[in-house]
């Protein structure tokens, strides 16, 4: 019964959303408008997912987006952990690097796109770069926050028993940071998917991803497939978000406070 309670409310909201969509398409739009902007829900399902050719195109593009986002995210995690550890080791390192981490977050990614294209070309490396840039900041901040959150009493214990910097890092700071780290990964995973699709708008060489598809469908007024591509983008984001949420629960729920798990 409890499972039903957690599944039913979002399902009801989804049904309501589809209902509003039908009402809007049927009564607000005339037929021409409906065909080029918001076709009926069943038409979208029909054209985008029931037609084998279209479905193949869309799922192939989703797969491309998934692996490009994954490569970028892994690079961002490695870089993010490296800089967070570096910054946690000395105040002056943190003061030196942190402003640039913030800068990374504040520069609009679109402003960097031409520069990235000029340096990395218009293929897959360029898209990976966009993913790395967009997903780095939450990993750095959350990990750094976690590493610095270790209790003073725990630090005193390690001091009393003459633990060195590495022992302190691996046996105290990393475990303390684990829940916050996974929260950072979770936020970044969602951003990585968005970054990959944004990258696809500008960098079309190499494999065809959801960004390329969205651009193409929009140009050709293929609304059904366009909406299908949007739905798959959202689904991909949700899957990676769940995945990292699952990892956090798996690694920390046996000991961490319930409100953080």
């Amino acid at each position: 019964m409890r499972r039903l309670g957690t599944i039913f409310p979002p399902l009801a909201v989804f049904a309501g959303f589809i209902g509003v969509w039908y009402l809007y398409s049927a009564y607000v739009l005339d037929e021409a408008e409906r065909n080029i902007s918001l076709p009926y829900f069943h038409d979208v399902v029909d054209v985008a997912f029931m037609n084998g050719e279209n479905r193949g195109e869309l799922l192939g593009a989703t797969w491309t987006s998934a692996w490009i986002a994954a490569i970028g995210l892994v690079i961002a995690i490695v870089l993010g952990l490296f800089f967070a550890v570096l910054m946690s080791q000395a105040r002056w390192v943190e003061r030196s690097f942190y402003p640039y981490a913030v800068l990374l977050q504040t520069i609009p990614i679109l402003a960097l796109v031409p520069l990235i294209g000029l340096r990395f070309g218009f293929g897959i490396p360029a898209r990976v770069s966009v993913v790395v840039i967009i997903s780095l900041f939450p990993i750095i901040t959350n990990t750094l926050f976690g590493l610095k959150a270790a209790d003073q009493g725990h630090h005193d214990l390690f001091t009393l028993h003459k633990a060195n910097r590495f022992t302190r890092l691996f046996k105290l700071q990393f475990p303390t940071a684990l829940p916050a780290m996974f929260t950072g990964f979770q936020i970044s995973a969602g951003l990585a998917v968005i970054g990959e699709i944004v990258g696809g708008f500008f960098f079309g060489r190499g494999a065809t991803d959801l960004g390329n598809r969205i651009q193409l469908y929009a140009a050709r007024l293929r609304s059904e497939e366009l909406i299908g591509a949007i739905a798959l983008s959202a689904a991909l984001g949700i899957i990676v978000f769940w995945f990292f949420g699952f990892l956090r629960t798996y690694f920390t729920s046996s000991w961490a406070d319930a409100d953080r798990a």
Binding site: G153, L160, K162, A163, P175
Partner: protein, 276 residues
């Protein structure tokens, strides 16, 4: 013995307190002498922000002694333990600490939440890179000593406050400490748990013969646990009175209802009120 004078560390290797230059009546008479484990000589502490925490604090802890310091909150009691353990550097005077392991139990149990009871109890030896096989055996034995057999695989989250404190005690006991510092460890516990743990520490003290230095602001707890009670004034903290506690060990909870216990507690209480 290692001597720490004027905040600078200097090691002096002598086997007993009798070999040091500080005169002490017990130490100068070899037949009567017990090893002096911890000695504060006119220690003062002024923090960087100007807070005058300790003023000319002098006292000794000998082998087989359990010394408790009572005083109002914020009088610098905990500072004494931090200085004794080397976590803080004092600003004036000197102190000596006997060689051998130091046990130190904080106000909080400070267990690592991601480690099981067993892994928490093993932590200190692990940090000191002790022998792995011996570590496991010692930890298991110590967990049994504090009455937590069967809870080895539990995480701290699943334990009560009293049980967490027992784990914290066990963790320090694995080092078989020669001097054992207690920083108001039972302040957050309910009365029954607190009394049980008082008896438990009393039993460990009798068995292990460590020198105990205990901080509390509960007078009954101080009298119940100690061979000697020191009264501290409010800031800057000074030792203003010393009481010898004559009761024999083992001490049981009936002791709390003896007239002599009440009389001594009353006397210390009156003294403390005067210096508050």
């Amino acid at each position: 013995m290692s001597t720490v004078a004027d905040g600078a560390a200097a090691d002096v290797d002598t086997d007993t307190a009798a070999g040091t230059s500080t005169p002490d009546t017990a130490a100068t008479n070899p037949t009567e002498s017990r090893n002096r484990l911890l000695s504060f000589d006119s220690v003062s502490m002024v923090f960087r922000d100007g807070t005058h925490a300790l003023d000319n604090v002098s006292f000794d802890v000998h082998e087989g002694e359990f010394v408790t310091i009572v005083g109002p909150s914020g009088c610098g009691k905990s500072t004494i333990l931090k200085i004794a353990s080397g976590l803080l550097k004092h600003t004036d005077g000197s102190y000596e600490l006997a060689d051998g392991n130091l046990g130190y139990v904080f106000q909080d149990a400070t267990l690592l939440p991601w480690r099981t009871v067993l892994a928490n109890v093993e932590l200190f030896d692990e940090l000191r890179k002790g022998d792995k096989a011996a570590r496991r055996a010692t930890a298991m034995r110590t967990i049994e000593t504090v009455g937590l057999k069967g809870f080895e695989k539990h995480h701290p989250r699943r334990l009560s406050g009293g049980m967490r404190m027992r784990v914290s005690l066990a963790r320090s006991l694995t080092l078989d400490p020669r001097v054992f510092l207690f920083d108001e460890p039972f302040g957050a516990l309910d009365e029954i748990t607190r009394q049980n743990l008082n008896e438990e520490v009393g039993r460990l003290f009798r068995e292990r013969r460590f020198g105990g230095l205990f901080i509390t602001h509960s007078i009954p707890e101080a009298v119940f646990m100690s061979t000697k009670v020191l009264v501290m004034s409010s800031r800057p903290g000074r030792i203003v009175a010393t009481y010898d506690v004559p009761f024999e060990y083992p001490r049981t909870s009936e002791l709390r209802y003896e007239p002599e216990f009440a009389r001594l507690s009353g006397e210390i209480s009156a003294d403390l009120a005067q210096w508050h």
